[in-house]
């Protein structure tokens, strides 16, 4: 760890990681089928693929979570046989999962030594040594972290740094990052890339898993593509184009990610005036017309989700007014907002959207139940018929309507949740990160759906941290920073730089 040898990515010594013929079966599915990869010291290997391509199965085997059914994993040429994630870490592999694996109640320093708290001679925990070692790591890696801070109080990007510090504390030779930027702001992404460069310079091999193609081009040296559990290709990233990557990933080419039909704006539907919440939003005012997509862009913590939840009556407001077609949202509740035709598609499908054990129909008809209800009784036949029509219309892939929603893919789950509101019939829909954790194929379909809804006259408020999505879908863009709207643009005459400038204020 102390030696800082600058690795040459092209050297021919033993690779840090060499995987050969790795196979994993689950009952009825071949999740990973004979995959071989190699990563060398100081190299970034990107792994891309749609959801279900086998990326997470591969990572989990490298992390020691799953046991392979076939093939080998070798670190520095030594074949490994992991019984647990702790073994993988001992062998030098550290995975930074998308869902950060830290204990929020513990301090930064304690989390770094979570695997094995440093102890004194008598076996008690050596707190001073833990703090000292944590500080050493931060100094060496250049992280601005406080060892005594509680992890639960840190931002996601700071928590990632804690995770990376864990890798350094254990002299990891291979760091695997699973969708590390999905919750990061552009600025934080820049910081992360600097950290990755520093890790490379420390001779650490990196596997970088992401959906975001522009990041792949920027950070990775080589790129492995998986599809349906199979290895498709491994090439220097520079030999790829955007289109060639997408084509290899989905097995077909996607001509246009963001279809845009002709939109006709109607009257103003949403009027928000001087909105405040007690801890975040600060004098928010805007209007949205029928058939218009208003995009809200902001860095992490700028208040996008807070705004989304406040305008639909989910979270309380301290001042200001929200009017839908001139009707005041009062009392401030989701019951009232729904009656005014305003609804939110939450960013957190699992926590705030799905009823995991319930079936597809039940999930889809939750908001629109009243439509099938006469005198309190639900007409199940009408309900099923309507649900089926939405399944057909949005091409939701499922075996039967009665299957539990947890068995659907993320993209199909999202379509069900969108159907939940469309079945009800909204005037305004608030979409908070509508494509988070959804693969490219399904994303395109959802983009098209949003476009179609707008062209049919729905007012759309889109909260997003993804620049292409923002620019591809919105008619106008509001930029949020620290709970305030710092700028409003027409999408047709704005650049990414202008938007970022406004967001960083």
């Amino acid at each position: 760890m102390t030696e800082l040898n600058i690795a040459d990515p092209t050297n021919t010594s033993v690779p840090v990681l060499s995987v050969s013929g790795l196979t994993k079966k689950f009952p009825g599915v071949l999740a990973l089928d004979d995959v071989s990869i190699e990563v060398r010291s100081g190299e970034v290997l990107a792994i891309i693929g749609e959801n279900g391509a086998g990326k997470s199965t591969l990572i989990k085997m490298l992390a020691g979570v799953y046991k392979p059914d076939g093939g080998t994993i070798a670190i520095n040429g030594e074949v490994q046989n992991y019984a647990s994630p702790a073994d993988a870490l001992k062998a030098g592999t550290k995975v930074v999962f998308q869902e950060i694996a830290l204990i929020p109640e513990f301090t930064v320093a304690e989390n770094i030594f979570l695997e094995s708290h440093l102890i004194t001679r008598i076996g008690t925990i050596d707190w001073p040594e833990i703090r000292r070692r944590a500080r050493d790591i931060f100094e060496r890696a250049g992280f601005a972290l406080d060892p005594d801070a509680k992890v639960g109080d840190l931002s996601i990007s700071q928590q990632q740094l804690v995770e990376i510090s864990r890798a350094l504390a254990h002299d990891a030779k291979l760091v695997i990052m699973d969708e590390p930027t999905s919750s990061l702001t552009p600025l934080e992404v820049r910081h992360l890339f600097e950290v990755i460069e520093r890790l490379k310079s420390l001779g650490i091999a990196i596997i970088y898993v992401s959906h975001k193609l522009e990041e792949i081009f920027e950070i990775s040296d080589r790129c492995t593509i998986l599809r349906d559990g199979k290895w498709i290709s491994t090439q220097p990233t520079s030999s790829h184009t955007n289109d060639s990557l997408i084509k290899d990933m989905v097995g077909r080419s996607i001509d246009d990610l963001f279809p845009r039909s002709e939109r006709k704006f109607g009257d103003t539907v949403v009027q928000v005036d001087g909105l405040y919440t007690h801890n975040r939003l600060d004098n928010i005012s805007f209007n949205v017309r029928a058939g218009e997509v208003l995009g809200f862009f902001g860095l992490m913590g700028a208040g996008r989700t807070e705004l989304a939840k406040a305008i639909v009556g989910y979270d309380p407001i301290s001042a200001g007014s929200i009017k839908i077609n001139g009707n005041l949202l009062s009392p401030h509740s989701t019951i009232k907002s729904k009656s005014l035709g305003l609804g939110l598609l939450s960013e957190d499908r699992k926590e705030e959207g799905l009823m995991m054990d319930a079936n597809v129909t039940r999930n889809m008809t939750l908001s629109a139940l009243q439509k099938f209800t006469r005198g309190g009784f639900v007409n199940a036949a009408a309900e099923t018929k309507t649900a089926q029509s939405f399944v057909d219309r949005f091409r939701i892939k499922l075996a039967k309507l009665g299957q539990p929603i947890r068995t659907l893919s993320g993209g199909n789950q999202q379509k069900v949740l969108l159907s939940r509101w469309l079945m009800y019939g909204l005037e305004v829909i608030v979409l908070d990160e509508p494509t988070r954790g959804i693969d490219v194929g399904a994303k395109t379909e959802i983009f098209a759906l949003i476009d179609e809804l707008a062209s049919q006259g729905l007012a759309v408020i889109l909260m997003t941290s993804e620049m292409p999505e923002l620019l591809g879908l919105s008619d106008r863009i509001c930029v949020l920073a620290e709970g305030k709207i710092t700028a409003t643009f027409e999408t047709s005459n704005v650049t990414q730089e202008e938007i970022l400038d406004a967001a960083i204020q």
Partner: protein, 326 residues
Amino acid sequence: MPATESIKQITNPIKKILTSEVGFLVLSLLALIIGISSFSEQFLSAPNAVAILHQSSLVLIVAIGMTVLLISGEVDISVGANLAFSSCVVMAVINQTDSIALGALAGIAFGTSVGFINAFVTTVLKVNSLIGTIAMMMMLKGGVFLFTREAIQNHHQLPLFPKIATGFVLGIPVPALIASIVAIIGWVIMTRTKAGRLFLATGANQKATRLSGYSPERVKFAAFLLTGALTGLAAVILASLINAGQPTAGGGFELIVIAAVLLGGTSLMGGRGTILGTIFGVLILKIVDNGIILLRLNQDYQIIFPGIVLILALYMDQKRRGTTND
């Protein structure tokens, strides 16, 4: 591993039949009936059936409310103490007014108001319902003795009152008839109405339910009120059965009710459960209870068996579903 599980379910048709919500319970019940009746011929006699129905009725009425409440993601430990207090209220009001109807109404109203306070403490004061209703149980157990120092008798000797619970309509004991009506209404609510959907939705995902334009607090409020009202109704029957209001009644009642509901397959975490399952859960527990007396076993087994049955049932349920709590 959700994906594999679904495949397991689809690929194994035999397992699929066994995973039907009540299949396992029906089999257990049949096994019990056959087992006990082969040792005791009185088991299947009419008087014994009536005795089982009487006793099951009280538990079932409250268990229907508890099922709805657990499905909504909350619990009420105070039902036993509420039962005792409400039965005293029933008898006291009958003594005051000479009206059985007013007494019954007062009992149900009292039970409901306890449910109201539980709902308030849980949904407004945001106290965990397990803790809040344990505290309510303590307060009711104390409060009932502030209300009456001793069992309240049927002072005016209204002969009609004790006859309600011991009477028959169309050959069916009245309590069983009332319990059946309650169970049918409960079943209709949970399977056929919007309200039932909202109880399930609230328990399955409270945040999603709120975002879908409903108030989970109101839903839970309704579930607590329902549980309280049904406890009051059970108290009317109890008072009629023993022809008195008994402040010490209902000891351990909450545990039997909850055990029966859980045995019936309702999830402690909310969002899953059926009225049909609860009916079988109650019958199984009460038949075991009855069988122990019938077979002249040591009555101490009456607390051992439910414990074993409960653990076993949950284990089997988990095996059948192929899920764990991990």
